[in-house]
Amino acid sequence: MSELLLEVEDLGVSLPTSSGQLHAVDSLGFSLREGELLGIVGESGSGKTQTALALMGLTPAGSRVSGSARLDGEELIGRPEAELNDLRGDRIAMVFQDPQAALNPYLRIGVQLTEVLEQHRELDAVTAAKRATEMLQAVGLDDSERCMRSYPHQLSGGMRQRVTIAIALLCRPRLLIADEPTTALDVTVQAQILGLLRVLKGSHYGAGLLITHDLAVVAEICDRVLVMYGGKPMELAAVDRLFHNGHHPYTRALLRSLPRLDRPESGLVPIPGQPGRPTGAGCPFRPRCAERLEQCAAVVPPRLDIAPGHLSYCHRSGPN
């Protein structure tokens, strides 16, 4: 077994809203080993993005983060801002959905890369530029010299996303968090970016969290998957198990609701209702669940150990 890189326990994020505190993330736990890519999947409001922001110390002002998240044994939650600033971009880095918004339109790409190295590595300008150029090549921007001199608007969407990945990987982070990194891209470009994330793992980053709504993307490149709904974990398993022996009713319903290129003849079965979070202690998926039981509304579902490394949070304990 490889080394434990990230350990998240009982993570909670609550956000202030006009109608009181919203528990965006509640009782979330998972771990990540060296060399692993974990997919976090969920629909709007599932808490997947807030989970990532909590790890980065970037949750909105007024929010409360509780629980624990340890990176190489060091606690991240509750760290002072100054220490987080040292960590971010160095040991934890993030790639966002919209590369256009992530890059500064007024600065040349070269400046946006070298400033990271000057900040975190205190490199001189010449060395930083050399490192930055190498990094651009590593993310497949072959004409790296021209790229360094360009402004973001002179690059295509796919090239811009490669640049944000290069920026994230400059300091060889332990943990790379990618939040919907290919959602804004065309499908052929998405394939290139997914290929890149896969190839660079290990050599350029320790382990990764891929946050997405797209189960197919997870199936393509992740080792394990965490399915979230209404701020809570539903199921956690290795990809093969989750896609072929999923336990949780939500996981199985999600898989049945996907149109499949490889199985055009199999119809899709939509999940009735819409994503949301009912009040009360029970399982947030219960209003839409076809297999709900009486206790689902009142009692928090127990954590079931289905198999080694396979967890499901459901009142239905038998094999489904």
């Binding site: 629909e43 998405q190 197919a216 993307v217 896609f243 290129l261 939509p270």
Partner: protein
């Protein structure tokens, strides 16, 4: 063979360039395409391929540089007020962003009644209410939604209202431009199942624009693939997905992730380059094509009959290449 409802011939649409001196952008570069009555035609392509512009040109929402659009045997360029009125009644649209395509100050009842007030002034209030309720029922909503405003509806409900609005006039042609891309997976499935049911029950002709090939595979009988403003391949969906002829179609299909880890494609981490200046006389795909030969760089292939479709390529078919990320068997 069913009747041709839409016939688009040599359509060219250009937009002004970024600055007064910049060359005009050719969004649709000479497309010829027919849609038969009762068929769901999927238009796929990446951003900038011209698929939405094609739909907008068909709807008369953008100016056409050259070429022509015929609807029900009527050339739209020559259609007068009465012709356009008929067209507007029979051709309806559903857009990507449901919230943006509904007037925020109108109740659902008003949104659904408006097309009837415009196109069927002979109807009384009772009849309008009857039609409205029937269409709401078609899309899985009911009377309780009538008084609500768009902001009181979820994204999926808004899209249902937009579809109901498109249906109140009993259209012959429904144009859907990315109708499910803004929705959550579970809601996307609801809308897809609804569209499939409506299309089967009402015998609608549908032009379905989408970038998601899995969605197109689910809904469409026929598929047209666009690249940089041109049509590169059309075929029946079964043929196109089983045996794509154009190298671009092959690359596109090879890039679609599949929700099954046992069918991993192991996408290659290929490099990206600055796009070259607009190709001169050659094939529009030549600079990215793994099969490109000398001829492809100098001559432009035209659409040629191939099986039940057409393909614009000098070297179509499976060939010996492995397109980007094509499935490793």
């Amino acid at each position: 063979m069913s009747a041709r409802l839409v016939d688009i011939r040599d359509l060219v649409v250009e937009y002004p360039g970024g600055s007064p001196r910049a060359p005009r952008v050719r969004a649709v570069a000479g497309v010829s395409l027919g849609i038969d009555e009762g068929v769901t035609l999927g238009i796929v392509g990446e951003s900038g391929s011209g698929k939405s512009t094609l739909a907008r040109a068909l709807l008369g929402l953008v100016d056409i540089q050259s070429g022509q659009v015929e609807y029900g045997g009527m050339p739209m360029a020559a259609a007068g007020r009465a012709g356009w009125r008929r067209f507007r009644r029979e051709v309806q649209v559903v857009f990507q962003d449901p919230a943006a395509s509904l007037d925020p100050r109108m109740s659902v009842a008003r949104i659904l009644a408006e097309p009837l007030l415009v196109h069927r002034p002979e109807l009384g209030a009772g009849q309008i209410r009857e039609i409205t309720l029937a269409r709401l029922g078609n899309v899985g909503l009911d009377e309780s939604h009538l008084r609500r405003l768009p902001r009181q509806l979820s994204g999926g409900e808004c899209q249902r209202v937009a579809i109901a609005r498109a249906l109140v006039l009993e259209p012959r042609l429904l144009i859907c431009d990315e109708p499910v891309s803004a929705l959550d997976i579970s809601i996307q499935a609801q809308i897809l199942a609804l569209l499939r049911e409506l299309q089967q029950r009402l015998g609608l002709t549908v032009m379905f624009i989408a970038h998601d090939l899995s969605v197109v595979r689910y809904l469409c009988k026929r598929v047209a693939v666009m690249y940089r403003g041109s049509l590169v391949e059309t075929a029946n969906a079964d043929t196109l997905f089983r045996d794509p002829q154009h190298p671009y179609t092959r690359a596109l299909l090879g890039s679609v992730p599949v929700a099954d880890p046992r069918q991993r494609r192991n996408f290659a981490a290929t490099a990206a380059t600055f796009s070259a200046a607009a190709a001169g006389s050659g094939c529009i795909y030549a600079d990215r094509c793994p099969r490109a030969q000398e001829r492809c760089r100098t001559e432009s292939p035209s659409l040629e009959r191939s099986g039940d479709g057409d393909v614009a390529c000098f070297f179509p078919g499976a060939g010996g290449d492995l397109a980007d990320g094509e499935r490793q068997r």
